[in-house]
Symmetry: D3
Subunit: 253 residues, 6 copies
């Protein structure tokens, strides 16, 4: 089975630089995939991407060596399984707030008898090889998003679920949940402390920590502190920011 | 943030005339949107419309001043949030049968810390403006469908949920649930009484009442009685009815 | 091979009532197809329909007994042939202005050695049966649009092309070309005379005459004068007209 | 209402030969539908097919007499109802593990007051006829997949749910759940015994038994033992197997 | 009819800053359209965009005040007309090499009797208003691309065609045609001279000159010399450049 | 630039085994591409595939080492160039009947100043590498289809066009054009002689010869005679043939 480069990076204690796809276009995804991101995450939660579009983005990513991940919209067994069958080499699940949430995430992404993932890796087997069924459980990466006050409260319970590979911090939702203004990078102190805490507890449990960032500066700083999976910007933000830059310079006196 | 004209109509105690979209075509939706409906509802429950198609219908509606609403297929957090992120200015949720159902509907469409909506209004912010996060909770309209015997039973409990803006009566399902024949307009007496009761209780709770209609006659009569949101027909029905009318007249002797 | 009901209607000297599809949605087309139109024409010229969408509309029509026709965007061999391969039982070609135009239309829709249609009826054979290749030439209907002053001038030359089954009058373009205001039904006298002339010459050559109409009244009047293929309205117009009717009645005092 | 040929085959104690669609292409589905399968199942669970694509596959199947079935991705009320509204004449639901699961499957596919299916058969009524609402409950076929150790344990409780028409055995998942290697046909003895048991209990409860097969041999053997619904291969497998056969023969010395 | 802001900019002797769309995604186009470009050009020639996708991009642009233009793939009457019917407020046509090419471009985009554009502005009328037919000829902008040695040779003949509003220089193709290396900005001297010549002749004929640029620097310099329509970069290039910038900074030591 | 494996096979005097794609599904194409065909040809002429679908099929093929070719619907400059820009490593052009046809095919697929291909390899450069512009002319393969009596007549004139890499025989159209029954393999003697003649003349001119086949037997026999590019069957035919085989065996007594 095709290996998961993300696991390899982590074994070498390196930080993966992750790109983010919110645009439902396989051509846009192919452009992104050819730039050299370690991983690209198709965002089915807040991105404008449904299952059928997601598959085409995974195909686009599969034309390169970049590792394909998917953020699912919710902790939903049918969609989690379809996502893996489509060839995602990792899933990020939002709003994991309890140990039970985390346990279900792991179960639904792991084959029986250990888990409850249904069998039928129709595209995953094309992409990964005929021995996918034997190695999928150990190759796929499972991220639980930590982004609420409740999750913070339950962090040790969540982190102790066997089979959970990583947590992923959503600074905006975490901010809102703690009564602060939503922000990716310039979070309020209460949120900054929470993020530190999550990172520290993840390390204590031997679980990888990842985080969403708006800027290179934030991503580098967080990587330096131990985050091993950092997202920077997104395809839609690149379009907006790049356009703004051009238009401001064109209209400057 | 772009205002919600529906709320404005209601402040003026006027009735919104709502069109209904079951056809998954942005061009068809654009034709509909240019006719002057106050609101157009994309029907993801019984319409032939999934998330990805729904986004294109919202884009089509956004070329006009008509207000875009969406009926979601079910009380599902992932899809409710994706729908709002896509720029729906209101959601209609089917089968709200208990106070708990209604409370979840409100929570999943309201940002933390008051609610549990996850943050990432990717298209809504384009459509509504950069200050969307600050005003979304107060701008978005939440409709709970009242369409079962159980909901009728629990009507006061449902209506007392804070943040629920409106109820929407589905006469066909309500008829079936009460053991009657499904119908939009010519409902059986038991159903007519139930509808009256819902309207009366909604007014008592200061909640807006809306209803689905098959004809102008029914919609006008119900508006006259106090319904402030009336749907008439649908795109698919217009095609069928218009064709029937032409063919009958062409084949008349 | 599945017969062409349009030819049968003509053999019985009856007028086909044709519906018009400008919306690129197979569901909308399926709704239209279930209403009982004799034929439905997918409009690839002015409709919002490209080849790939057209195929889905033909599939939708194929769920019923309605006869599927296609108006191609231009006299283009590649597209004419793809349209027939996709299972159109007739084609309407715009802007046939000379005998040579008409001859090419016939050649490109007729197999060698009589014509130059390339062989590969991939979907047509599914729809029509394994013996499609043997009967296609005699089953398919070819319409030449007569809609310019030049075509009017060349009408006898056009009509004398062997294999041309029918002409189709486009009153709006014909009006513009004659220096009049575009209109489907209320054409200026100069245009009305031209239409009469086309009809008369078509009959003289044993070629069927068809025409585009905006209303039942115009279509009935023209059918009474001898047009054997009359289009009335279109899917997009039904949506607009139906909506207008509802909104006017809802907003009437 | 259009009858369900599957029920008729069962009344005659005949076995339906079912084809399987994992490719999201209406043209591919139309090719399959024209080959004479008794039923074709659109696989929304492990197939690369979402709701919007599924509708186009149902339209393709509707151009023939083949009966259209859908396997839904999960026991989800919104999607089950949308599937039926789209015109599926039967649904296969995975991972039915308890009596409660089975009861919900039946309720969500049956109209009130007996069940809880919401009313709005937008495409089903086109396909099936205007009297669809009156006959849908008795026409639609409901399959519960039996594919886990838990389901095996609860088999009698599941089979005793009124309104459940059939069970469908997924040999791969059942194998995994029983600690065996996933396989369609050459299952390990423990799995073979389980399959026998399911068949025997289904017969005892008067419920039809169906099963997924990889080969004609397995399907024939199982049909001979009493399975009345046997799937053989799938569209994607036909492409792979057919290609392999050609390439091996082309490259043979 | 909705005015053409591009013509207004030109009347004020201002330079339009044009964005470029090669990605077939209405969401990506909507993101671009909300950034404030004066015009956005959907590139059907070298972009990954066909007619059906183009319509969705025009719809996305129509949610803003940005002016929608389309570069067609070739001087093809069917496609030029479909493009205008879809609501493009201007067309850029590649490879106009002779006076005859230019004359056909103008004729096919102008209604009879002056031109030969067929009548049926199905989406343009929605977008532009009911009086579109009366004002389209004077509102639509027609660009002829000057990008070959032959066109350079025929420049005065081309520019003297009545109704041609503007020329658009393609520096890459012009370079290749003159035997130089393809480049947008750093063109070889022979190409620079040719561009100067085109600009000078356009001014002499009272025709607007536009040009494709890779950078803000080139675009500003060319605008300063008199180009009144300058394209900078494209959506796909923004994704690539933005990603490169992030990855280089993330991987810097 | 990514090399063209097809040219390499030919340098080694080996015959490429080509698969054929008529189904507009990237997933189906991905299944096909993973089976090991030397080349896969997307059929835009008789396949149910338009430009936008074609791009997704090329992306699917690009996930493997199989070489992507495209048959265009007609000798059309706009579409030929878009096809190459999309990343086809070879094009097959139908109905090349004269030296002039062949010369235009070569010119439109070759950059200036030698040819007239417009510059903008938007996806080809992603797939092939940044040096695509320098090497494309020598890497891309151009096939002229020889399939009419006229082409047979003009065979030496066609074959002598510099830059034409290969001819491709369409036995069905050639049969029709010679007044015979259409067939891929069991062609009538007159057609067999014509095919022999084409092969012989191609060799004399140093041009590769390819041919369409329905069966392995025909393909092997023709490869043995010197055809260096043989197509066998197609995706749609594999679905039909595989289904037929299963159904016949299931229904055998």
């Amino acid at each position: 089975m095709r290996e998961n480069r993300l696991r390899q990076l982590w074994r070498e204690n390196r930080t993966a630089v992750n790109g983010w796809l919110a645009i439902p276009s396989a051509f846009a995804a192919e452009v992104m995939a050819h730039q050299g991101w370690d991983t690209l995450t198709v965002d089915m939660q807040h991105g404008v991407v449904d299952y059928q579009a997601m598959v085409t983005l995974l195909q686009a990513i599969s034309t390169t060596a970049t590792e394909p991940l998917v953020r699912v919209p919710w902790l939903d067994p049918g969609l989690l399984m379809k996502t893996l069958d489509a060839g995602a080499w990792g899933v990020i699940c939002p709003m994991i707030n309890t140990r039970d949430d985390a346990a279900r995430l792991v179960a639904w992404t792991t084959y029986a008898p250990r888990g409850a993932r249904s069998f039928g890796p129709v595209r995953a087997q094309l992409y990964g090889g005929a021995d996918y069924p034997a190695h999928a459980d150990a190759t796929i990466v499972r991220f639980a998003m930590i982004e609420t006050a409740q999750a913070l409260d339950q962090i040790d319970a969540i982190l102790s679920v066997e089979g959970l590979d990583a947590v992923y911090v959503g600074p905006s939702d975490l901010s809102l949940s703690l009564g602060c203004k939503p922000s990716f990078d310039d979070v309020e102190p209460k949120v900054a402390q929470a993020i530190d805490h999550i990172l520290e507890r993840a390390h204590a449990h031997g679980v990888v920590a990842g985080i969403h960032n708006g800027s290179v500066e934030a991503a580098r700083a967080r990587a330096a502190r131990g985050f091993r999976f950092v997202t920077v910007s997104s395809d839609a933000r690149l379009l907006a920011a790049g356009s703004q830059q051009i238009l401001q310079r064109m209209r400057a006196p």
